[in-house]
Structure formats: C-alpha cells, structure tokens
C-alpha cells in the first residue's frame, strides 16, 4: 500500500470518526438503559394491575365476539376500533372511540384523547381494567419513565422526529465507513506487532493507540452489525411509507370508494381471527382494526399477524378479511425491503437470546465506548503535537513534548 493510499484511508477514518463520534457516544450511552428497559420497569415501577385469575392450564380462551359485545354494552353509541390480544399475558385489549372522525380530530388537539380501551381476561372475558378517563388528573411521570423516554428519543432521533432519524441514519453510515477504514489502518499499524500488544513502556500515545486497536479489533464484527442494522432501523418511516403508497394502495384501491360498513352489520371478529390464522400459517394474529381505520379499507377487517420465532417474530403479514361476509380477501407478505428491516431489528436490539445476550450486548457496547474515547484521545494528542510543532516554529519551546511516533509522520 502506498503512502498516498494509506494517507487517504487515514483521512477517511479521521473525518468519518470525528463527525459521528459524539452521536455514537449518545447512542451507546442511551442504548444501555434501553437494553434493560424491561428489567428496569419491573424493578422500579412494576404494574399495579390485579393478578390474573388462576385457571387450570389449557383453559380455552373466550370468544372475542363476547368481549366486543360487552364493550359495546359498556359504551353504547361508540365504535370499536381495534382488538389486540396481548402477546405474553392472557389479556385482550379492546379499543373504542366515539367515531373515526373524533380520533382523526384528536391529532389537531394534543390534549384531547377520545380513544380509550378496555382490558379483558382472555379466558373469562371479564373486564380487568379500563384506560383512565381522558379528564382524569394525569398521573405524575415516574423518574424511570422520564429517563427511559429521554434515552429512547435521543437514541432514535435526538428529539427531532423524522429528520433526526435520517440524520442518525447518516451517522450510522459514517460509523460503518469509519469501521472499514479503521480496519485498513489496523492492518498497517499491526504489521510488526503481535495481536493484543499494549505497549506501556513507551509514549502514552502508543498505549492509547494499542488500546484503540485491540478493543476495536475485538468488537469490530459486533459494531459493524449493530451499526449497520441501526442505520436500517432509522429508515423505517420512509420504508413503511413507501410500502403504503405502493403495494398497500394497490391492494386497497378497489375498495377505496365504498361506503364504510356500519358497526351494526359486521361479521364475527373471532371468525376473522381464525380465518387470518389459517391464511398465514405459522403466524400469530396480534391485532385487528375495524373497517374505516386510517390506512385501512372501509369494508375490511385488517388483521396483523407475525411469525412465532425470534427471526420471523417481527415479520408482519397483514391479512384482509371482508367485514361484510367474513370471507378472506388475502394475506399480503411484506416486500423484501421491509422483511430486511424486520430481520435487522433483533440484531440491533440484542433481545433474542435471553438476559445473558443482553449482558454481552452491554459489555460490547461499553468496549465500543472505550474505542470511541480512545479515538478522541488519539486525535486530541496528535493535534497537540501539531500545535507544538507550530509553537516551536515560532520560537517557543513547549516543555513536555513526547516522542513523535514514527508512524504518525507518514500519516500526517
């Protein structure tokens, strides 16, 4: 490798790293509480819900139609908007609102929440809990909630919505570029050093450089995977938007003009769940929205199903069931780019291998933080050397000059 190419790689490494380091530090630090958010919630907040009734194992679930009917009796004149069985608990959430229009109007008034929910026991169809009424005094936010919420927003988009998410996506690309260029430089620096050497008997800068190389080499693959999947995750809004204006629009086109089916004349919700489960074999049905829902059809139930394994668990397949007849209209697997997105999620979150995997994720994250910090130290040290040289040129004598590393000469 010629000096010129090497210098180019060095410049790429320096600038990509410098630009993304601050944001990477934010992401690495905020990622830690996010990683353990489940454990943190359980430890500091918990929930005050009454415990579930103990029933003999294998007790079948009650029909969802019973719960929907109960909800309608509790709030006559309102519409049911969604039915969502819980993933982990034997509970079903039935969401209601005065009307679709009321829900839409909520967007204009941040203080108005016309939607509400009722939580049923999935096996007995007994009401367990209801959302607090919208005029109830708001519960003070817990510290845990504030900290986790802030960490999540900072991590995802720096409190800046879609532009923030895209910006962080660019930082992710820069991070990957800095990892690649760093790997090239590693090959040059380590030419005469056995792997894992940390020189402590020479200039402090060399110790930092060796640490940077060792820690970077040990976490390289993990950082590449988590960095790249993080970038893909930041694209989720545009990717889902793309799907919505292409495939989804195409599928819903024939029904777009039809009048909304009245909630009094709908086919069975339970039957729609059963139909969807058959239409997407191997998938779990996790939710149903009623005809008229935003991004839905005026005459269909939209059912959301997803795979049952960690790999396929985030691969959603929406199913349309005609709400007038109960007949299956179709199951629509996601396009390749959304499948790619959904598969890259677990690899970013580290949530698919139990607590030990999360702990490893956290340790690797801490090592990456150390790599970032040592990189900044190296950059700052080199700047000092450059400044000292300028000072000397001006006739000053900086007292504590350390040996300029020979390799550094070639790089400058």
């Amino acid at each position: 490798m010629t000096t010129t190419t090497l210098r180019r790689w060095f410049v790429v490494h320096k600038w990509t790293s410098l630009i993304c380091t601050l944001f990477l530090l934010v992401v690495c630090v905020t990622g830690l509480p996010m990683l353990f958010s489940e454990q943190i919630w359980d430890a500091f907040v918990g929930d005050d819900d009454p415990p579930y009734e103990v029933l003999p194992p294998g007790t079948p679930n009650a029909s969802l139609d019973v719960m929907v009917a109960k909800a309608r009796v509790m709030f006559p004149g309102q519409i049911v908007t969604q039915v969502n069985p819980d993933d982990d608990e034997p509970a079903v959430l039935v969401s209601m609102a005065p009307s679709w229009q009321a829900l839409k109007d909520d967007e204009k008034y941040p203080d108005r929440h016309s939607g509400h929910w009722i939580k049923f026991d999935a096996r007995t169809a007994k009401v367990l809990k209801q959302s607090p009424p919208s005029d109830a005094p708001k519960k003070p936010r817990t510290w845990t909630g504030i900290i986790l919420g802030t960490a999540t927003r900072l991590h995802m988009n720096l409190f800046a919505g879609l532009p923030g998410a895209l910006f962080m996506g660019v930082m992710g690309v820069l991070f990957v570029a800095s990892l690649v260029s760093g790997t090239v430089l590693y090959g040059r620096y380590m030419k005469r050093l056995p792997f894992g050497t940390v020189r402590r008997d020479r200039a402090a800068r060399l110790t930092w450089l060796d640490l940077h190389n060792l820690l970077g080499a040990a976490t390289l693959a993990w950082a590449l995977v988590v960095g790249f999947t993080g970038f893909v995750n930041e694209l989720q809004t545009p990717l889902f938007g793309l799907w919505r204006i292409t495939d989804v629009r195409q599928i819903l086109k024939p029904y777009a003009g039809l009048p909304e089916v009245s909630q009094a004349h709908l086919s069975s919700v339970q039957a729609a769940f059963d139909t969807a489960a058959k239409a997407a074999p191997g998938n779990k049905v996790t939710g149903l929205s009623f005809p008229g829902a935003p991004f839905g059809s005026p005459v269909h139930y939209v059912l959301w199903t997803h795979g049952a394994t960690p790999l396929r668990g985030r691969l959603f397949t929406p199913v349309l069931v005609d709400a007038r007849t109960g007949a299956l209209t179709g199951a629509y697997p996601m396009p390749w780019y959304l499948r790619f997105l959904e598969i890259s999620r677990p690899l970013h979150f580290g949530d698919y291998g139990g607590l030990p995997l999360k702990v490893l994720w956290a340790l690797l994250d801490l090592v990456v933080i150390a790599v970032l910090v040592s990189g900044v130290v190296l950059w700052a040290a080199k700047r000092r050397i450059a400044t000292d040289m300028r000072l000397r040129a001006l006739g000053f004598d900086p007292d504590d000059v350390e040996t300029v590393p020979t390799l550094g000469e070639a790089m400058r």
Partner: protein, 81 residues
Amino acid sequence: MNAAPPMPPPSSSPSRTPVAVWPWPIALSLLTVFGLLSALLGQHGIWLALSWTSLSIPLVVMFACLVRARRRTPLSNGGQS
C-alpha cells in the same frame, strides 16, 4: 475455527519481523457472527449457550491481553507467568 493461531508469544518490544496481522481479528469476527446468528436461528437450548459462549470469547481475549499488558510492568522486566 481452525484458523485460530496460538496465543502470540509474549514480547516486551515489538519485533522487527512482520507478523500475521489478520488471523486473530478474523477469528474473533467469525466467532461474533456465529454467536449473533446461532441465537437468532437456533432460538433455544444449545444454540443459545453456543451464542453466549462465542460472543464472550472476543471479550475474554481482549481482557486477557489487557491483563497481560498490565502484569508486565512498564519497565523492561518481562515477568510472565
């Protein structure tokens, strides 16, 4: 994983002769990738344990190198176990 070289011999000063740069980083990267995928594709039991083990190895190797560097005093004396 038979590409993994033996632990490099301890040396207090960098040798003048070129060394094989890539075997260790490649071995650690392969272990990491294997660990990431085995939990994702295998999902339970032995695959999870394999995932935890193989993801730990890069950290353990790194830690061992740090300990070794620390044990060797900054001065020349290479008191190695």
